[in-house]
Symmetry: C2
Subunit: 576 residues, 2 copies
């Protein structure tokens, strides 16, 4: 039934057919996600809601803005992407997130939390300016609802004098269970309304901002949803509406329903890697035993960051603030003013949200906050919005900040030990997983690199991080077959650089390798260092493009980093 379905056909279906369609969608999603990886339980929970939305509204004339996009799979299947659905999250395939480039049914690209209400307001405002007539809907989960952007958007609803429908899809979960007072408030609303009372009084928060509040309804009850959306569509002609629905994360699959956090994101990797997050969790827990000043802060990703045990062991010294990356950074800075030793663990891509606070609050006050920047470098299948390839570029220029890139999980552990006594802002960036151990090191000294392999004295390859060093060593091997020995240097501190080592390099050709953008990254620091020195520097780093989905290794090669390219460059130089 799902194959070749059009929105027009969907609108002519009976309820029974629609319910069967929902089951088919669930099967396709489950089958595909177990194969390709992706977001499972969040997508299973919203099948009925998305069928109902496509039934009631007229997409693409009406516009549906997703928040984050962990709930968009059913929408993709209903809007012409069934046949490509098996390519989801693969290189060249369809995206796991809404994508304007992919379909006119996707009107706004997302990936980071909290943007949907602002985007829906902008689209509605544009509609009004152009004098057009269509509906704009934001679909947001309760996890995203913690983000400060929601408040900023709410605050301007009346200013913009426009109407949108906001569907609050409340499943009680971010990736982890949703935390915070707004979530507690949503729970109170749900309970009250289950008891059919107090509705008017409690919904006041939303009404203050200019929304009519309508809820709470069962978002997995297709018939009710269709009826409710028809009703709300009328109301929307008069004013903006919040429709509050409850859905069951993982709906339809008991394993997912019982384990919504574990099945939020499914990884399809077969290979066994060591996770840097495990090292973070284990080491920080150990360090915190000796140092009661250590505190840990996360923004809704405690488990994936490896900190579940820390949080269990030290509840009074840990806090997950929900998807509030700005607030998390200031909490760390302010706790540090009182002598605590905060660790803020966060994915590279989400750290972008803390940018101003890293500058003003943490580094501007020169406070000993450690940023544990996970998923740095290419992250893979989630695509453009999730690649961690900008962090060196946006951290390197911040005064007072030390930027470290451990070469492997062992060095990461040493780096964390180093951080415990380091009394200034520090960022440590690392990828999700590694497997190679280069060598064990006794002691980390700030700004000091190490030579991992000696060469002939003509070419030095300076690389930061495990992936870059792997490329360097693989290139070294390729070149050794041609009788060339390059030296390989572990630049475990990107800032400050080891200028003593740089000054002592006898090699006239310097190659840099990093899992980050070329512009503003490690290589550009080396270029500046040698800009008047008569050395030839060649950088291997990512080109000035957004990096789409794919496997880490194929994307690294395609966008600028590979052993083959390094070896080719040197061979070409030799044969010139």
């Amino acid at each position: 039934m799902l194959e070749n379905i059009t929105v027009a056909q969907l609108k002519r279906m009976t309820l029974k057919e629609l319910l069967a369609l929902c089951e088919e969608i669930r099967e396709v999603i489950t089958k595909t996600v177990l194969k390709n990886g992706g977001h499972l339980s969040s997508n299973l929970g919203t099948v009925e809601l998305l069928v109902a939305l496509n039934y009631v509204f007229d997409f693409p004339k009406d516009k549906l803005v997703f928040d984050v996009g962990h709930q968009c799979y059913a929408h993709k299947l209903l809007t012409g992407r069934y046949s490509e659905f098996n390519t989801i999250r693969q290189k060249g395939g369809i995206s796991g997130f809404p994508k304007r480039e992919e379909s006119e049914y996707d009107c706004y690209n997302v990936g980071h939390a909290g943007t949907s209400v602002s985007a829906a307001l902008g689209i509605a405002k544009a509609r009004d300016v152009k004098g057009e007539d269509f509906n704009v809907i934001a679909l947001i989960g309760d996890g995203s609802f913690n983000n400060g952007l929601i408040y900023e958007a709410f605050n301007s609803l009346r200013l913009l004098n426009t109407n949108i429908l906001l569907i609050l899809n409340d499943n009680g979960m971010s990736i982890a269970p949703t935390v915070g007072s707004m979530h507690e408030y949503l729970e109170i609303l749900s309970e009250d309304i289950a008891q059919k009372n107090k509705k008017d009084r409690h919904a006041k928060i939303f009404e203050r901002f200019g929304f009519a509040y309508d809820g709470v309804y069962d978002g997995n009850d297709l018939e009710k949803m269709i009826f409710k959306l028809e009703e709300v569509k009328e109301k929307l002609k008069i004013q903006s509406v919040i429709l509050h629905v409850l859905t069951k994360k993982g709906k339809g699959y008991s394993f997912c329903e019982e384990n919504p956090e574990g099945t939020h994101g499914i990884t399809n990797s077969a290979e066994k890697f060591d996770e840097y997050s495990e090292i973070l969790g284990r080491t920080l827990t150990r360090l915190a035993e000796k140092d009661n000043k250590i505190v840990a802060v996360t923004a809704a990703m405690t488990s994936s960051l490896g900190l579940s045990n820390f949080f269990k062991k030290y509840p009074e010294r840990s806090v997950d603030v929900g998807i509030c990356e700005e607030h998390a950074a200031i909490l760390c800075a302010s706790m540090a003013t009182e002598g605590l030793k905060p660790y803020y663990a966060v994915y590279s891509t989400f750290l972008q949200r803390s940018f101003d606070e890293i500058i003003i609050d943490i580094c501007g006050q020169n406070l000993p906050v450690t940023l544990c920047v996970d998923r740095a470098g290419i992250s893979g299948a989630d695509g453009e919005t999730h690649q961690g390839v900008f962090d060196l570029s946006f951290l390197n220029f911040i005064p007072n900040l030390t930027v470290a890139v451990p070469k492997d999980i062992n060095e990461f552990e040493k780096m964390l030990e180093f951080s415990a006594d380091f009394n200034a802002p520090l960022a440590i960036r690392y990828p999700r997983a590694g497997k190679k151990i280069f060598n064990k090191r006794e002691k980390i000294v700030c700004g000091k690199w190490e030579i991992l392999a000696e060469g002939d004295g003509k070419y030095a390859v300076i690389a930061c991080g495990e992936r870059a060093l792997n490329c360097a060593f693989n290139a070294r091997k390729l070149l050794q077959n041609n009788g060339i020995n390059v030296s390989v240097i572990n630049a475990c501190f990107v800032k400050p650089m080891d200028t003593e080592m740089l000054d002592s390099l006898k090699e006239s050709f310097i190659l840099t390798v990093e899992d980050n953008m070329l512009i503003g990254g490690f290589g550009s620091l080396i270029n500046t260092y040698f800009s008047a020195a008569g050395k030839v520097v060649k950088n291997f780093a990512y080109a000035d493009k957004f990096i789409p989905q794919g496997s880490v290794s194929e994307l690294m090669k395609e966008f600028g980093i590979s052993a083959e390219d390094i070896a080719d460059y040197i061979m070409t130089n030799e044969n010139r």
Copy 2:
């Protein structure tokens, strides 16, 4: 009375003496600000409140966190800084903002809006972790209260399980009158309570998040404030409290009371400059006549950005969203998805708050949003938190973004005309004021530079922006006295660069000049471009330090850009 006052003495004063003290404080503030520049009306409005706070609480044991810091002058005068107060905002003098380095009575550095509640929570949490006992107070104006950080902090109040006092100083103004639904709500609260009714019902928003709400009181009534704060101090032992006070911005000086926006910030500059903001306002208004797709978005700075007339003329095509820089950026992106042509005008330092949205929403979707980045480069007397010296570094590496730096106000006008037909993300950065016109140019072509002065062929000085070009031309003059002619190139696009011109340069010594940090800035792009080319490149840009307050010219020189240093470098090179 104010001279040599200590907090201990203050606590022994009679009400009459305290009232006289308030008048003295007002006089000192007014006299000093009219001389040094600074924030006038906001500081006049909070004199009684700060006297009362110092009377009731025990600073520095208790902690007072300011939001933004436009209200801290009376606190400075009361806590040991009377004798240095005449140096405020001057090089080497005391700061116009709270500063930990300056006094133990300043517990948290600020400058950007909305951080105070998060910081107070972090300090309170640290107190609890350490088992200490003191009070933590956040003092925030209603303008800052629009920022999303407030919501993020509120959301975690119960999570952190700690108590703070939040004083909401409501004067109805940001720099401009405060806008938005939260502000309207605060007005409703004030009116209701003036009528002595409905209090319980309306204060629910705050209570939902775990605060006891207490208000509204006259913050300029010293006696009442002292009484109320004593009461709240007791309540604080049980739970967090919001104390809502109304103050009169500019209180005590009729000119300020009647003109609070015009007297928010006072500039002490005598020299007459042309303001880039005037060009923005005039040109954008003109372009919008022909193009009804043009819309303008600001975040609480419409007038200082030069857009008051635009807003008056095109109310349906303009919106000031309050201090919500993230939301503003997404509004622009989403309006652009619907075919509008949005201009987001913002100070460089505040654009830092939109960083993630520039990457994901604007550039990730390759949308034709124009960022008008005002106050770029060193901004002067406001110090570290307000220097616009990072924007080239945090914009250059974002894919799809074109970065332009006009050489003077004429070229800025041409650049805006260019932007109207430019169908991709564009940032135009410029300082507050200029005075020199280099030459008039007919047409801007993307990525094309111009040679402003031909040289002998040995040294090329490539500079971006008016200030950098002034340094370059002044250096050229100094060198001409020594018989050396350097060429001067206007790099009006930092990205993309004019590679055709770069490739054609016969000069072997390339000098770059920019009003931005060295790391990640324009010069570093040039270093990368020439990293294997055998040219010697020397960069003039800001050192890797936070730049404190001072005059623009003295700070430029001290931190790395001056005609003398450029000339010295070349003379040294000649004499080598």
